[in-house]
Amino acid sequence: MTHQPIHGPAHVYGDNIDTDRIIPGKYTKTLDTAALAAHVLEDLDPEFSRRVRPGHILVAGRNFGCGSSREQAPVALKAAGVAAVIARSFARIFYRNAINIGLPVVEVEDHRIQPGDEVSIDLAAGLVINHTRGETYRAAAMPRQMMDILAAGGLVNYLSRHGDYV
């Protein structure tokens, strides 16, 4: 599978955004992804779930997704329409979970993305382009294992296809 082009306006937040702020624990006990999306980032920015549109890009600082192992966090972002998350660094469980459910995550240590900037991501080349500022940023390399899982659209598709890790 080839990746869909990712291009959209950026929503920008800060460092150490924990999974409780991505989706509070009181809402996580459900398999209804729309119910998760309705509360995404609620305690960080109550307006976010109303402003986000399919294809928008979330941009954050260091250690995005720290805390709980709840996969509901990337699921809620994806269900809300977020096409990708760019952060200066990610907490490891969130990073894995996002790839596993097919939500692209891109680690870019150095960037100057501001709220509303038009950003596109070329996953194969590992590049993030800020069209508003005319800048290009290099993303940290992703292990081959993860690229394969992401290219399959997530770990469920990957294992349905291969039956095992290859």
Binding site: R21, K29, D43, S69, P143
Partner: protein, 410 residues
């Protein structure tokens, strides 16, 4: 090649010698998911075409995060877990039996040298029994249920050497809070932590669990506690690091002068000695969570509150780590002491720590808690403030109504 504990355990599971940085596919010794993560894992497992886990006897489901069910949605997720366990023969711990990590250790499901996957971020707790415990999400767990394997990058190891002896009233919780402050919220991201030193050798199993548990708050992939001094019911083969093993860094702390520590809102690494927050009024005291509500924690709280009453206007809620812990605390008289002081017991489980139910704080209320996280909204209300501390500090604060060093009320 001299290896760290993490490299040794993963080499065994990979079937070849591995070192930090390698990406490996490894067999797992056990997997665990809770009612917060198992329903999604079961769904993903079925979507992958799974029918029965690779080894149902090594697959554990625990209903602890919202147990007993607070509403019909959760009740139906619990039903899904029970049906799955019945169909596949995997082991289910139902409501009230206890907190997942406590149950895995207490029942010997995780053993020294194991690689154990938990769909819960506090899975590094298993390092207390010298096992490589790693937290994953639901889909990774489903994949391990299907294949008996997972993939991971062999972590670099940071060695933490704890010298000296703890003063009375100072505990493993105070040590780990101090270390979370030192390393910061992402200070151990992707790393394994190895704990060693005479202060570790002297720690009980419960203390080791507390220590390993909160490495999650520095982002660690796993924590491995030196098995010297570890006592388990069954004989075991300890895994030690090789002399000359390569560490990314070594951090040394003499704990002899350490005072009780408190994490202020709204981050677990926002830690100060208790003196700096002493006198802060509290409304709600909570003793619970996979971090700190084992027998010795209830003993510490009972020692503070024996023959006394909670301050007016303060409630103390206690959720024991497991039914067995509760039974032992009953037998020892701790439960009677705490009840007489005015405490309220709720069923063994996670409840208030994760904001599920059984103790959500009100707007503007201040909580002193023995749990592991004080993120905004963590306990179910973003307008409450949570301070984290040891059970002794929580009990002393419940007694006086303000954050208090237990030494002051001894």
């Amino acid at each position: 090649m001299a290896q760290t504990i993490a490299e040794k355990i993963l080499s065994r599971r990979a079937g070849k010698a591995v070192r930090a940085g390698d990406i490996v596919i490894v067999s797992v010794d056990g997997v665990m998911a809770t009612d917060a993560t198992a329903p999604m894992a079961i769904q993903a497992f079925r979507e992958m075409g799974g029918r029965r886990p690779w080894d149902p006897t090594r697959t554990f489901l625990v209903i602890d995060h919202a147990a007993p069910a607070p509403n019909e949605t959760v009740a139906n997720l619990h039903r899904l877990m029970r049906e799955f366990a019945r169909e596949t023969g995997c082991r289910l711990y139902d409501v009230g039996e206890g907190i997942c990590h406590q149950l895995m250790v207490e029942n010997g499901h995780v053993r020294p040298g194991d690689l154990f996957l938990g769909a819960d971020s506090h899975s590094p707790t298993y390092g207390a029994v010298n096992a490589f415990g790693v937290g994953v999400g639901s889909t990774d767990l489903a994949a391990a249920m299907l294949t008996g394997k997972t993939w991971l990058r062999v972590p670099r190891t940071v060695r933490i050497v704890l010298h000296g002896g703890l003063r009375p009233g100072v505990t493993a919780k105070d040590v780990i809070l101090r270390l979370v402050k030192e390393l910061g919220a992402d200070g151990a991201n992707y790393r394994a932590i190895e704990f060693t030193g005479e202060a570790v050798h002297a720690m009980s199993l419960a203390g080791r669990m507390t220590l390993a548990n909160m490495t999650a708050e520095m982002g660690a992939k796993t924590a491995l506690v030196d098995p010297t001094g570890l006592r388990l019911d069954e004989p075991f083969e300890p895994v030690y690091p090789d002399p000359g093993a390569e560490y990314e860094a070594t951090l040394t702390l003499d704990v002899s002068a350490l005072r009780p520590q408190v994490a202020r809102p709204h981050a677990p690494d926002n830690v100060v000695p208790v003196d700096e927050v002493q006198g802060t009024p509290v409304h709600y005291a909570f003793i619970g969570s996979c971090t700190n509500t084992r027998l010795e924690d209830l003993a510490a709280a009972a020692a503070v509150l024996r023959g006394r009453r909670l301050a007016a206007g303060v409630r103390l809620v206690i959720a024991p780590a497991s039914k067995r812990v509760f039974e032992e605390a009953l037998a020892q008289g701790y439960v009677a002491t705490l009840l007489a002081a005015g405490a309220t017991f709720i069923p063994a489980g996670c409840g208030p720590c994760v904001g599920s139910h059984l103790g959500v704080p009100g707007d503007g209320e201040v909580v002193i808690s023995s749990a592991n996280r004080n993120f905004r909204g963590r306990m179910g209300n973003p307008r409450a403030e949570i301070y984290l501390a040891s059970p002794a500090v929580v009990a002393a604060s419940a007694l006086t109504g303000v954050i208090t060093d237990p030494a002051e009320v001894g």
